[in-house]
Symmetry: C2
Subunit: 340 residues, 2 copies
Amino acid sequence: MKTLKLALLGFGSAGRAFARLLLEKEAEIEARYDTQVAVTAIVTGSHGTLTDSAGLDLPAALDTAEAGSRFPGSDTAMEVAERGDYDALLELTPLNIRTGQPAIDHIKTAFGRGKHVVTANKGPIAWAYADLRAEARRRGCLFFYETTVMDGTPIFNLAEYTLKMARVTEVSGILNTTTNYMLQEMAAGKPYEEILAAGRRLGFIEADPAMDIEGYDAAAKLTALLNVLMDAHMTPDRVDRTGIEHITPADIQAAAKRDCVIKLVCRGTVKDGQVQATVKPVEVPRGDLLATIDATSSVVSLTTDLMGKLSIVEHDPLIEQTAYGIFGDVLRVLDGVSRG
Amino acid sequence: MKTLKLALLGFGSAGRAFARLLLEKEAEIEARYDTQVAVTAIVTGSHGTLTDSAGLDLPAALDTAEAGSRFPGSDTAMEVAERGDYDALLELTPLNIRTGQPAIDHIKTAFGRGKHVVTANKGPIAWAYADLRAEARRRGCLFFYETTVMDGTPIFNLAEYTLKMARVTEVSGILNTTTNYMLQEMAAGKPYEEILAAGRRLGFIEADPAMDIEGYDAAAKLTALLNVLMDAHMTPDRVDRTGIEHITPADIQAAAKRDCVIKLVCRGTVKDGQVQATVKPVEVPRGDLLATIDATSSVVSLTTDLMGKLSIVEHDPLIEQTAYGIFGDVLRVLDGVSRG
C-alpha cells in the first residue's frame, strides 16, 4: 500500500473536523486508492506544532487540541512548509484578507519543493491565483481550493468537471453568511447590538465583524470566483464594494413595502477584457431565488455560453461541510497521484 | 489524429442542436483531444436514414432535416445499432415512458458490440439502469446519461465528479416543466384551455400532455435520479404519483391566501432498503426555494451524508442546453477513450 503524507498548516475547527472525517473514512480510502493517508505535521497558531514523519497519532492530536493543550514542537508554518516531510500541504491558516500572506508564501514554498497543495484559505486565490496556478503547472503539482468559496459545495469543481468547454461569462451570488444573517435579523426587527451578540454566540459573527459588514469578505470570494472561473487577474481591493454598515431598519422596511428584501449581492463579469465586479446591498424581489437564501445558506449563479444560467445553493452548512471541502480536495490529490 | 465515430438514433430538435454545437466546436475538440468526431449515421423517425462510414456531411444533413426532406436510406434504429460503423451510440429516440423500449434494446445492442453509449432518452435509466450499468461494466463500455434529467445541468456528473465518497440520502425537486408552467399560468388566472393552447404554441406543452399532467414524466425523472444516485432499482410505475389534473384555480387561490404556491414536487429516499418515492402537488411557502422555480426552470436538491443539502437550479433552458448535455457526455467519452 502507498502512503500520502499530509502537513496541516492550521488546526482550527475546520482542520479538526477534517481530521475526524479522515479518521472516519480511513478504511474506505485505503480500499479505494490502495493508499494510506498519514498526517505528518500539524501546526497550530499558538499551541505548538506536532510532527512525525511516520504519521502522527491523529486521535491523540485531536484530543490534545480539543483539550486546549499544547503540542511539544515549535516549528512555524513556514518552517514546516520548507522542511517538513509531506506530499501535500494543507493551507488552513487564518485568512489575511488584505494581502493573502503568509499563506501565499507557504504555498509557493510547497510548489518549490514539488509538493501538492490544498487550500481552504481564500487569500491566495483572491490575491495570487494566476501566479500560483502557473507555478503549480511548471512544477507538475496539483492545486485545489474548493473550500475557499461556499465550503465543500462544488463551484470550482462544478465548472471544471461538469461544464466542460463551456465558458463562464458572469458570476453572481450571496457569499457572506454574517451579513446575510444580520440583514435577516434586522428585517425581523431585532436591535443591531442584540443581533451581533446572538450571532457571536452562535458562531456566525466574528469578534471583529468589520471585514464581513464592510463587504470585504464577499469581495475576496467574488475575486476568487472571477480569477478561477473567468481568468480575471483580479484582486479584492479592485472590487466596487459597498457593505451593509449604512443599511437601516427603515431601509429594510421600505424594501418590504415593495415586496423586496435587501441582500448583499456579489456580481462579476468580464467585458472586452475589463473586469466589472461589485459587492453591494441590493433590493431583491421576494419571488427571486436570492430572496430565499436564508441566514447561513449561500448561492452562486453561473451564466455560461453553452449551458445557460445555473445556480447552486448550499443550505445551512455546518463545519463538517468545510471539512468535506478539504477532504474532497485530498481525494482529488489521491486521484491525481494514482493516475500518475 | 484519431477519429470517434458517432451514430445518432434520432434527429429531432435536440439532435439537430447537438449537431450544430458539434460543428461549432469542431476545431476546439480536435485541438484538445487530437480527435476528429465524425457522425457516421443519422436515423430519423419518419424521414429516412443517412449513413457514411467515412463521416457524413453534417451541414448538408442539417439542411435536409430542417427543410423537412428525407434521407435516402431506410435502415431502422435497431439495424444501425446492430450493424452501423460507430464507436459511440447516441440514443435520442422518442421516449416510451411505459417501458423504456426500444431504446433499452438499442443500448444493449451497442454494449453487446463493445460500443460506448450516450442517452438523452430517460426511459432506459428509469426502467433498466442497473442492468445497463452492469452490462456496460462487463463490456468495458462508457455509459453517460446527463441529459435525461434537467438537460445538460450537471446532476449525475455533480454527484460523480464533485461529491466523491458522499452518499446521497434524499433527492427532491421540481422536474416537469409542463406542469410547472401550467400551475403558474393557472395562478395568474388564465383559463385552462388557453394555457394549453399557449403552451403548445410556445413548445412547453405536447400535443397530448397527459404524461406530464398526470405526473408520469416527473415520476420517470425521479426514478432515474433514485436509480443512479441511490442505487434504488426502482421503476416509474412504483412511484406514489398524483398529477395536477385535479388542481383547480380555487385550490391555487386558497394556497395563495396562506402565502403558498402549489408545485408538483418529486421526493425520494431509501430507508431500510425500502424506496419511498412520491410525485404530488404540494403547497410550498412563498419564501421557499421551490416557490421561486419559474415556468421552464427546474431544481434538484440532494441531501448527502457528508456535504449536507445542496440544490442546483436550471434557469429558463433552451434546446441548446439539451444539446449541451449530449455534447458534454460525448466529451466524457473522448476523455475516457483518450485515457484508455
